[in-house]
Symmetry: C2
Subunit: 345 residues, 2 copies
């Protein structure tokens, strides 16, 4: 039996097949910009929310219904995988995530343990199951994880970073330690994503959110082989959306690393991004999230512009170029989704 989601616009676009309208979702579509989410968070700290599957399902389903998007994504966090790998993770009020024992020196690398089984992350798979069970069967559920570089950067910097100096120093000075760390992350992430697929996700997104701080040569030599290892391990199970941001010059090499769908940010026009990753792949993007702080008229103008650049070619998934900003008025996000559906139908 073919499930309903299989022939919906989202999975059609993933396969570069024509669809009745351009599918759309928003990165971080369930989040602080939404009153219903803030109401939940008033009683539940972020990490507790991530570990309560019923709540994860609830906040995501609320967002999907409010926005009218074409896919749900697991409600979770990139960094949870680092906890069972041995890092002390905390989400501080306002300042974001902190890792209490970052990897700084080559000798620290062995403190990051490979995830041999994903049992410790049982709450994630429960969230996948509960979200899938409650979700409209016509909509796919997207699982996700951080790409090895972005996870390594968090593990080494110990939190947010401006110039990524610690991770670059380790990467540039000790290729042996670096490749050991990245291989361990790659194998762990691959297992984690396959387990999400087994729990009920139809497609997964690999977030390389911080990769744009790298030049092309460093990416190719020191990052690409590890990302490729993840994607090769996962794609027999489900298609991968490979998302990077911050450096359009990397797009051809993100393609080389793999992914059925490549995600691009707003720095590069959509047609140019698609040409860079090749028209045999689907493309996801790429409205500047700041546009959602303007007006419905301006949002419509820019949605139309991106759809024009896509030119009706099958294989476009509309999205922002990065996550929804907390300052976004929800009605503007709704206006964006409506405009994509209306102008592409």
């Amino acid at each position: 039996m073919t499930e309903a989601w299989h022939n919906g616009p989202f999975m059609q676009a993933v396969r570069c097949e024509p669809a009745e309208h351009t599918p759309v979702w928003l990165m971080r579509q369930a989040g602080r910009y939404m009153a219903e989410y803030r109401a939940v968070r008033r009683h539940v700290p972020f990490i507790e929310l991530c570990k309560t599957p019923a709540r994860c399902a609830e906040v995501m389903l609320t967002a999907v219904e409010r926005l009218g998007v074409d896919a749900a994504i697991l409600f979770s966090d990139l960094l949870l995988i680092l906890e069972p790998m041995g890092l002390g993770l905390e989400f501080t009020q306002g300042d974001g995530p902190v890792l209490h024992n970052p990897i700084r020196e080559p000798a620290d690398v062995d403190r990051l343990r490979e995830l041999q089984t994903c049992d410790a992350l049982h709450y994630v798979f429960d969230a996948v199951r509960q979200t899938r069970a409650a979700l409209d069967p016509r909509l796919p559920l997207i699982g996700f994880a951080g790409a090895p570089f972005t996870l390594a950067a968090y593990a080494i910097e110990g939190g947010g970073s401006r110039n990524y100096l610690h991770v670059k120093r380790l990467m540039m000075t000790d290729a042996g330690a670096w490749n050991a760390l990245m291989s361990r992350l790659a194998r762990s992430v691959a297992r984690y994503l396959v387990a999400q697929v087994e729990a009920g996700a139809q497609v997964v997104q690999l977030f390389d959110s911080w990769v744009g701080c790298l030049g092309v040569d460093d990416y190719r030599r020191l990052v690409m082989p590890h990302t490729r290892a993840v994607i090769e391990a996962v794609e027999p199970h489900a298609p991968v959306i490979h998302f990077g941001t911050g450096n359009p010059a990397l797009l051809p090499w993100l393609r080389e690393a793999g992914g059925r769908v490549l995600g691009a940010d707003w720095r590069v026009p959509l047609d140019q991004a698609w040409a860079a990753v090749g028209h045999d792949r689907a493309i996801q993007g790429n409205l500047d999230p700041a546009v959602l702080l303007t007006t419905p008229a301006e949002i419509e103008r820019r949605v139309r512009q991106i759809l024009d650049l896509a030119g009706g070619r099958p294989g476009h998934i509309f999205n922002l170029g990065h996550g929804v900003l907390p300052q976004t008025p929800v009605e503007n996000a709704v206006a964006m989704v409506r405009a994509v559906h209306e102008f592409s139908a």
Copy 2:
């Protein structure tokens, strides 16, 4: 009489003429990474240093001698021009610059007054004169200013920013107010740079340090005409180095805005950057500043790689892709300069 600097490697590269070696300097070459600079700063707050011409000359000459670079740059700050334009500027310890009365709404734009004369910035021109007088006559002195977008972003955000939401919101929602603000900045910056040339600078650099947060279409429509106005006003007086960072997709449009030399960051390989800006222009760049935190051997390897990509074509000025990081060991900066000279001779 032709001055000595005119036939040195730096000005030859600016004109895309063959030079005896590839000229090199570092953005922020006099700064916190240097013990001599920290010694001066122990007694003098940053803004006071900027307003004491003899000190400006001293810290720059010390850096030029210590590094053996092929050019000096005025010691100053991008934001000083905003003070006589009406913004309350303060450099706080550790947190960087703060503007106390940022422009937030279209109605605020008139608070930013056009700089009709540069008299209020007399200390800058004194610093140019004193640096020029004391500098080796074979080395050119580079003047500089912020590009209109980067100055507007500071004026609107009120300091550093992560997502540039205030500036993007104003830019995207009120083109009239935005263009009024940008025109006023462009005319002020042009006067300021011409005055630096008249005081003794041989070349000027326009820093669009924050422009990489923009996509191509916004840059072309809302920023490029204003940057072009600055460069067209200045180039009859001295060649302009036009530097942007953070988005390689902008390079062809930075070229359209103008500049005898285009500056590129490390996100894109040098040969690709040069092709994007055209071989009729000189190129400046583009070592990742993080490389200076590694070892002399790794620095040499990467210097050689960039020189190989330049391929001996006349018109390459070696530099970092952004300013020297405070954590940089001075001996590594010296090793970089030495490697550029040795490998390109």
